[in-house]
Amino acid sequence: MEREFYLGAITEDTMTRRNYSLLGPDGARAVETGLAAAEWYHTEVPRKVMKDLMKRSDAPAIRDTIILYGCMILFAGLGIALWPSWWSAPFWLAYGVLYGSAMDSRWHECGHGTAFKTPWMNTVVYEIASLMMMRNSATWRWSHARHHTDTYIVGRDPEIAVMRPPVLFKLIGNFFGIFDAWAALSRMAYNAFLGVHPEEKTFVPQSEWPKVVKVARIYVLIYAATITLAIWMHSILPLMVIGLPRLYGAWHHVMTGLLQHGGLADNVTDHRLNSRTVYMNPISRFIYWNMNYHVEHHMFPMVPYHALPRLHETIRHDLPAPNRSIGAGFAEMWPALIRQLRYEDFFIKRELPATAKPYREEFHAEAPVGGTVAA
């Protein structure tokens, strides 16, 4: 499969410096130029087909949720029973990945309201997953709405996982949740004691600010109670169940999350340019709830996770070829991230099939082609 590598600026002197602050000049420029809240490219799908794909159902998510929480209770129970023996380690590792990674996808899909047909089921799973992921359930609903409005628009999207130039030690550290969890705890404390952060005020409506503070205070109470219990028991066991799995189980959601947009274009209005679909094994797809079909999800966020494979088959003629595996995705992305250390305008542009409509790349008109390689 062909992968073109684009270099927007040739020398470091002329290279663009991105400012990712939501209060900074890049965001203001995106609003001025119409890049923010723009109309994005969509593949044409007949209305009847799309209605069928968008159809909601409780059954798949109830099945998956029973399996997920059932496994978590089982693994945590075995971990506790075998504690403090090293024989408990495999069960903690399994529990951790369901807590620190599967909860990321549950937070995501239930936040969209597409996982279950019944609204309260989405709400319950969303709130539990938000607590486990240390994401304020009030703030992050709005943050993710902005991510879908302005996907990888610099200065507008609050959920850009890989900024340019990439900070590799942070990316690697986040496989163990180190920087993410610290940032989440800091923001939790800020929200609980000082209120809504100025950056959050750019995407959370004022009517929701009291809720942000209330949720943060509830989280602080829960985590403080867990720490108190650990101190009282003279054991980290309570934290192995609540809190620490956000660190030792984060690796899978970081591994899959980096692939969503890493190394691809920013400041464009075509998800085929800035998002990546990767074929994955069934276990990863269960943990990730099919978000490996990421171009499809961004183009049509109304389609529930269980219908994404069908959506992929429906529109794949208009999309770049997916990466064949997680390993293939990293083999494509990682060298691009390394190049971005020196040239932050560098990005991967995937070739479209002959059946696809051309890319919308009006915002990339000035970028000269750097080279073409086979991946």
Partner: protein
Amino acid sequence: MTQWIDACATDEIDEEDLIRFDHGAQTFAIYHSPEGDFYATAGLCSHENVHLCDGLVMGHLIECPKHNGQFDYRTGEAKRAPVCVNLRTFPVKVEGGRVFIEVA
């Protein structure tokens, strides 16, 4: 001054679905409820300028295709974040198999 505008034939909209209707500079969404009634609202989501016609009708709710915000299309009431502002609604009548909406 208001006027009744001929928007579409009743059989142009499936039950539990909607279509887009443009008139002058305005855009509308016209709905066919599961009970067989017709309703009309502003065509763009009140959260961001996204056409609701690509969204999903579930019972009496319309879900925006971009951010999954929901409105009750009978009243325009915002029902699910990220929508906070109600949708404007318009009177509808059906005559001779045609759907008319009253616009200013």
